[in-house]
Structures are given as structure tokens and as C-alpha cells.
Amino acid sequence: MDNLKPAIEVFDLSVSYRETEVLKEVTFQVLPGEIFVVLGESGCGKTTLLRHMIGLREPQGGTVFFAGENFYRMKWKKREKLMKKFGVLFQSGALLGSLTLGENVALPLVENTKLSKKMIFEIVRLKLSLVGLEDKAHLYPAELSGGMKKRGGLARAMVLDPQILFFDEPSAGLDPVTQVELDELILNINGNLGTTIVVVTHELQSIFKIAGRCIMLDSESKGIIAEGKPEELRDTAEHPRVKAFFRREKINH
């Protein structure tokens, strides 16, 4: 994998909300085709990092490179084009309430491609069947359960065959069985479509199951305290917080 150019390169990223510093000079790389997990305790800036990686908020310092190109220095048009190659699954699915599930999934196709209604219909059907929601296409998000909304959001995020998929806490609020199914789905998408996947989570079981590599953020140092394969981190980590996280222990001060 050494000869591969990184798909995403986060360089010296610093973020603060008003006076509070959240992330300080964070640097890491995501390789193409890997499943990369960002983990850490609640409130350590995982979601903040994700929001900056997908270009929703400009960082105070540092930048993000996609395939070697500086995201925050490129022209807006180019940035928009690049963003179409991302798929993002937000924490609660973020389906538009005024559209049915099927229309939600069809939305990127209707807006961004010139496909006919027939083909859009077929693609929506394929994607919905992938997440097991083909019989719910005519329902509005308000009529769906939390897990269904999340899976629907995933179908929408995948509909344009993105090169990079971002997941914000995919397993939060799901029952264990659905969680496992979602993990399988993530592995499947990664394996069969070769999609690069970035997952923000603190679900230990998921991490061990899906993560190729992971970084752990920490709210005290406001940066990365561990990087590597999850099994390695569990077995060899020295840092007390990393140890506590992977072995589900209390931190002894």
C-alpha cells in the first residue's frame, strides 16, 4: 500500500469554536480503498473533524487534500464537483422530511445526472434493496424508525457511487442486530465497490469488525493520541486513555 497516493490527507488541521480550541494541528492520511475509523470519547471533536473533512466548515488552520489537491484552496466550482464524489451519512440520516424515502434517494440523481425517470427508478430500487428498505420507498421519513432513517440515509449517500463515503456514528441508536448488518454492509461496499470509507464511531465491536486502520482523538491534548490497527492498539497501547478505551476500563488517576 506504500506506493498509493493518499485519498484524503488532513494536514495540520486546527479548529476552534469561538474561544474553545477543539482540534490542534491534526495530521493524518486515509489511503484509497481502506476503512478508516476515527474514534474517541464523546465530545473530543470527532464529528467536528468529519465536518471539516467534507467541507462543511472552513478550518482556522491547516487544510485537507483530496487526491493531492488542496480542498480549501480550490475554486468553488471545482470544490462542488469534488463534493459530488463524496457520500455522507449523517447521524440521524438527514432525510428531507418533505420527500418520501424513494424521492430522497432519487434526489441526487434527479439533480446531478441526466438519467431518465425509468433509470432513476431502477437505481433507487437497487440502492434501497441494498439496505433492505425496498418496501418502504413510498413512506415519508416521519413514518420510519430511527434505524430505517439511517439506512435510508445510507442509500441516498451511496446513490451516486461515491469514491469516498463518510459515516457519522453509523451504529448509534441501532439495535445490535441492525448494527451488525450495517457493519456487514460497510464491509460489503468497501470490498465490492472499492469505496474508501471514513467512519466516526465509538462502538468498540464495530471498530474491531470493520476498521482497517484507526486514529484516536483525545479532548485533553486536542489531537491524535493513537494511530494504527485496532488490535495492535488494544494489545500494545501505552497511553492510559487508549488502553482504557480499548479494554473498557476505568482510568485510574
Binding site: L115, I123, V124, L128, L193
Partner: protein, 379 residues
């Protein structure tokens, strides 16, 4: 540049009438559409034949490509043709592994709509009846909350009332003042032309004075507050409702009618008469300005005439109306907010209907006041 269809698609007919499709190159979002057209055209006239699809020359296939294959299959089934997967390669097999083309059932994109007029009017009737019940419940609950608060004045949210009074009253002053001044100006200006023809210049004071205090003042204020505060209540409470905050209040043993609706209704009820007083004042000031500027009246003459024209009852009846309008406006806002169910769309709907039904109620109540005052001899 026309799409080079032959680089992607070869259609051959075998001797026994069957069809062989050979797809090649990249099957992606940008290429599937012309391919679909061509294939449909080729299969249109054929029935009950075997269609073999060869995929061994495909270099790349994405979801759109998979959708195309799936579409071919369905299109054939509709024409009683049988489809067979012919030669294939690793790329295709890998990509199609995710989808089980056999198993994917039919889907509906949008809910079915029933177009029957009887069904429709029936639904409308049920909806109106439900709404009437909900409204009665809302009024009852707010009234109970009020009674409870009167017995437990210590538990009442006085701070909230002061805050809401500032938000709905004091902060609305500039816009109420400006709008009333402009309406005073406009109505004085348009009547000045008529009055001058009869040499009745001085009666402009009566016209503006009575018009503003009895009707225009309360109406302008109420309509403004509907748009400004009633809608805000509906949106705020509606958003709380869809994000489960109202349910959270309820299970904590806090009645949302007492906690949210009552302070809002009381604040607006108290602020409306005060705002109306300001509206009267600014409206009359507008009239005064036009009288002096275009009708050659002196300010003193205008004020003297005004003093004779309007009595205490004219102002008081306006304030009484404003008080009632305030209850209607805030009540409608809170009611629509609590009725909200669903998502962002529902919040928009409640906000709209809070303004629409608020303004309707104001005008209806105004007419009722006119009739009642007339029969009581108070006009």
C-alpha cells in the same frame, strides 16, 4: 457529438429468432441512457424470444450499469421474453455480487392518492371534527392551567411572562409605530381629497380619530402580532414537538399548556392593548401631519376637534378588542404549534396555518364585536 453507440452495444439476431446483446466498455451514469433507448428500440417488436446478454467486454460497471441490466430483464419479462446471462468477466461479477437481481421486488416512490370526491370530503369532515375536538381540549387545558396558576401564584412563570412581554411587546414597538404612522398618513391623505371638496376639512380629525381608535389601531396591531409572534410561537413549539421536547416536558410532569402556552397567551394578551395605544397615537400623528400639510389646519384646531370627536369609549372599545385579539393570536400560535406532527415540513405547515387562522379569527372577532356593540347601543 452523437453518442458512439456501436462502441458499447452490439445486437445480433440468431437464426432461431433469438437475440444476443453484447455490452462493452464503461457502463456508467453517463452511458446507460442511450444504451437503454437503443435496447428498448431493438426489443420492442419481439415477443417470446430468448435474449442473451454478454458482459465479457465490459471494463467498468457502476450502479447505473447494474440498473440497466436489471431494467433489460424487467423489460423482457414484460414482453414475455426470457433473459439469459451470457459470457461475463471478473469485473462484472464482482460489481454485481452486491445485488441479487432475482430478488429485488417492485417499489413505489410515492404514496397512493385516493381521488374519490366522497372519500375526500369524508376525510375533510373527519379532519375538521378532530380539529374541533383538539381545539376544545386545548382551550380547556389552558383554562385549567390558568385556574391552577391562580391558586398557586408562586408556581407561575413570572420571569417568562416578563421576557415574553419584552419579546412580543417592547420589541414590536418600532414596527407597530411605523406601520400605524404610515396607515394614518395614507388614510388621511386619501380622505383629505374628498373632504376638501365639501369644505369639511376639519372633520378629518373625527375620521382619523375614530377610525384609528375603534378599528384600525387594534386591527393593524393584531395582524402584525400574528405575523410576528403568533407564527414564532407556532414554529418554536412545533419544533419542540417534533424533537420530542414536548413529550419530555409531559413525562417530567410538566403540563406544556401551563409551561409554554399560558405564559405566551398572557404576555400577548397584556401587550396587545399597550401596543394598540401606541398604534392609535402614531396613526393620529400621521393624520395630524397630513391635515397640517395639505388641509391648512393648525395643530391646535386638529387637537380641539379630536378632543370633541373621540370619547373614552372609543379608545376603550379598541383596547378591549385588542385584549381579545391578543388571546386569539397567541392561542392560535400555541395551538398550531402543539398540533405539529412529523418533520420540518409539518413545522412550516403549522406556522402557515397559525397565521392564516389567526388573521381569520381576528377579522371574524372584529365583525362579532361590531354586531354586539351595535345591538348594545355602544357604537
Amino acid at each position: 457529438m452523437p453518442f458512439p453507440i456501436h462502441e458499447y452495444l452490439q445486437i445480433e439476431q440468431t437464426e432461431d429468432g433469438n437475440v444476443e446483446l453484447t455490452l462493452s466498455g464503461r457502463l456508467s451514469f453517463s452511458t446507460v441512457e442511450p444504451l437503454r433507448n437503443e435496447i428498448e428500440k431493438a426489443l420492442k417488436k419481439r415477443r417470446e424470444v430468448k435474449v442473451t446478454v454478454h458482459l465479457d467486454q465490459v471494463e467498468y460497471i457502476d450502479s447505473a450499469g447494474a440498473a440497466l441490466l436489471f431494467h433489460i430483464k424487467r423489460y423482457c419479462r414484460k414482453r414475455d421474453c426470457e433473459t439469459v446471462r451470457g459470457r461475463s468477466n471478473v469485473t462484472v461479477e464482482e460489481a454485481l455480487k452486491l445485488f441479487d437481481l432475482e430478488k429485488i421486488p417492485e417499489i413505489k416512490l410515492s404514496p397512493e392518492k385516493s381521488g374519490n370526491i366522497i372519500v375526500y370530503s369524508g376525510k375533510l369532515f373527519i379532519k375538521s371534527a378532530q380539529e374541533f375536538i383538539e381545539l376544545s381540549l386545548f382551550i380547556g387545558r389552558v383554562f385549567l392551567a390558568l385556574m391552577w396558576s391562580l391558586r398557586h401564584p408562586g408556581r407561575f412563570r413570572w420571569g417568562e411572562i416578563i421576557y415574553l412581554s419584552q419579546r412580543t411587546g417592547a420589541e414590536a414597538l418600532p414596527i407597530v409605530g411605523l406601520l400605524s404612522l404610515l396607515i394614518g398618513l395614507v388614510s388621511a391623505f386619501s380622505s383629505a381629497v374628498q373632504l376638501r371638496q365639501f369644505g369639511a376639512n376639519i372633520y378629518i380629525a373625527d375620521l382619523i380619530g375614530i377610525g384609528m381608535t375603534r378599528e384600525m389601531g387594534p386591527l393593524i396591531t393584531a395582524i402584525l402580532i400574528t405575523g410576528r409572534s403568533g407564527s414564532a410561537f407556532a414554529a418554536e413549539i412545533g419544533t419542540m414537538k417534533i424533537s420530542d421536547e414536548i413529550d419530555a416536558l409531559t413525562v417530567m410532569g410538566i403540563d406544556p399548556h401551563h409551561y409554554l402556552a399560558l405564559p405566551r397567551i398572557i404576555a400577548v394578551m397584556l401587550m396587545m392593548p399597550l401596543l394598540t395605544l401606541f398604534s392609535d397615537l402614531f396613526g393620529i400623528a400621521g393624520g395630524l401631519f397630513i391635515s397640517v400639510a395639505t388641509l391648512d389646519l393648525t395643530p391646535t384646531a386638529f387637537m380641539n376637534q379630536l378632543g370633541g370627536a373621540i370619547g373614552l369609549w372609543d379608545v376603550a372599545s379598541g383596547l378591549l378588542k385588542a385584549f381579545v385579539f391578543g388571546i386569539l393570536v397567541a392561542g392560535t400560535g400555541c395551538f398550531r404549534g402543539l398540533q405539529t406532527y412529523g418533520g420540518a415540513l409539518a413545522v412550516g405547515k403549522s406556522t402557515t396555518s397559525s397565521v392564516v387562522s389567526g388573521i381569520f379569527l381576528i377579522v371574524a372577532a372584529d365583525s362579532a364585536f361590531a354586531i354586539v356593540f351595535h345591538y348594545l347601543g355602544l357604537m
